[in-house]
Symmetry: C2
Subunit: 338 residues, 2 copies
């Protein structure tokens, strides 16, 4: 323990770093210096702000090795962070990956290679250079990853959660509920998904972060507020309302259900769309009168409701059913840490 | 598991975020927007490069809760990253903290508060704003932290590992071997250290990152190459030689042993200074003829050897004993991941 804790050199770890470095891009564009020194060096362009987000991807919480292929884990690790950049309308610049692997995976370099395949393939799609990180042996039987994503936006122009105003229309990109339904199917039969590919429509295993849609919203000045739907619509909309000091109404029959959610009975499908997490779509608002295109950055846009003034005694978010009945839409999240 | 993995809202986690947010600084200086949106927003100054580093601090690998107080863990989590910034000569700008805590610590908010005390107290000393991060419940009984540090340097001026040339003198800051000896004492009697404070000289529990020394080296143009000593002198000097394409000689009787290492017999003291990790001093080189001050950024500087040309058949690093006997100084690291 003494030796381990003294953090001495570890040629096994050095080999892992070398494995990652060989696969990572060398410095290019804003990344002046990538993996190999004490720090990476970035050169932001004049007139740009940098946005930064970090996201854990922990085995046993965010994935299971008996359910998820390493390619899917790598993809999802990066997708979480890219989705946060998308929510700000940012252009991805660089990713940093901290990765702790279990002792037995050191022998099985194939797992790490496939993880990197998934991570780097998605990175290439969105011009994200792997510019650094850290490696360690995991203290448990869990693979642990933490990703840092950095992106750039024109100065002062980042999309925020706090700009929604009463009267604004509420929109989302793509479709909702697919990830939670696919996860339930994965749980029942992991084998069915062993050959799933990023090129297929796999909202849980290979979510597509809405980076292009976010950039288009920013560039065209369409949105008053924006965030990504990672914890489920009911929860994330509550966050948006909180940040903006407003309330909202969601119209159930406007919700764009993913085909997987449409395959369920109506109530379960609606629940998946309202509370299912990890859809990684964008939730945004725009002033009435804004000419909203039907497709942004290659993805459909749907109006799902309206922002209203905050009033004492009325719910923060109201769900208007297809039958016109109004009910409170409470955030229906789980208590991880209580 | 389904619910947990769907990543739904977690008011326990929200409470933790709130606990951290309340203690973190609000946006100031280069940090335009801190915790609370999808990303933090940074505004780098014109003419500056940004340097970025990430460092894991994992229970069972980098600390033990039965040895280290939460204050020490918080301090060490940040110190590791600050030391990387110091190695580049950077001015700290912002820190991002990803923190996964165990279920039983949720009840014991005191541990997290003391962790944050240690983290934020060190951050204040060096003008580092906690600007964001992520939280999760740990999938195991281990507290897991990953820290991202961002700093700024004048454009193109970051200190690098790769600039050492044959003939340069080799220096280090402060003293060596203290951290590994204190760790050994901590292992024997953790109780003795329960009241240890950052204000005392505790090279393992409360290392002082050499941020000011690094900035001074950069500003005064003194160093040709620089890195921090985190894995032990023998290992880190090998990295510096590798990056610069040179060899080096270390003179044993020049090494500035920490008082704790001086308390050991001569051989053990020398071994602690050569191979003990986590001293977090700076290792740097300067051209012959450079007027090197005896103290930089408040910390003593000692010449410990010379950079030499790389030659086939001669060791990368040679140790010259007090008796003049020359031996190869191999990196003596442990194999975490083999």
């Amino acid at each position: 323990m003494l030796e381990v804790m003294a953090g001495k050199a570890k040629s096994g770890e050095l080999a892992l770093i070398e494995q990652i470095r060989k696969r990572a891009g060398v410095g290019s564009g804003a990344v002046q210096l990538g993996i190999g020194d004490d720090c990476a060096i970035l050169r932001p362009r004049a007139g740009e702000d940098l946005v930064v987000t970090t996201d854990f991807t922990l085995e046993g919480r965010h994935f299971r090795r008996d359910w998820h292929t390493p390619r899917s884990v790598g993809h999802r690790t990066l997708a979480r962070g890219l989705s946060d950049l998308a929510a700000m309308g940012a252009k991805p610049v660089a990713a940093f990956l901290s990765l702790a692997i279990t002792r037995n995976l050191v022998q099985k370099r194939g797992w790490i290679d496939a993880f990197l395949d998934g991570f780097l393939h998605l990175g290439e799609q969105f011009g994200t250079v792997l510019a650094g990180g850290d490696t360690s042996e995991s203290p448990s039987e869990h693979v642990l990853a933490d990703v840092v994503l950095m992106g750039s936006v024109p100065r002062g122009k980042a999309l925020r959660r706090s700009g929604a105003r009463a009267g604004d229309f509420l929109y989302c990109t793509g479709s909702l509920g697919g990830a939670t339904v696919e996860l339930a199917e994965l749980e029942k039969s992991p084998r069915r998904f062993r050959a799933a590919k990023a090129s297929g429509d796999h909202p849980h295993l290979f979510p597509v972060p809405r980076v292009k849609a976010g950039q288009a919203l920013l560039k065209r000045g369409l949105a008053t507020a924006c965030m990504d739907i990672s914890d489920g619509l009911s929860t994330d909309l509550a966050h948006l309302c909180e940040s903006s000091g407003v309330s909202a109404e969601v119209e159930a029959d406007r919700l764009p259900l993913h085909p997987l959610a449409r395959g369920l009975d109506a109530e379960a499908g609606l629940a998946a769309a309202l509370h299912g997490g990890e859809d990684y779509e964008l939730l945004f608002t725009a002033q009435v009168g804004t000419k909203m295109p039907q497709v942004i950055g290659g993805v459909p846009v749907t109006r799902i409701g309206t922002i209203t003034a905050k009033r004492k005694g009325t719910p923060q978010v109201t769900l208007v059913g297809a039958d016109g009945v109004r009910t409170e839409l409470a955030p229906q999240g789980w208590e991880h840490l209580r």
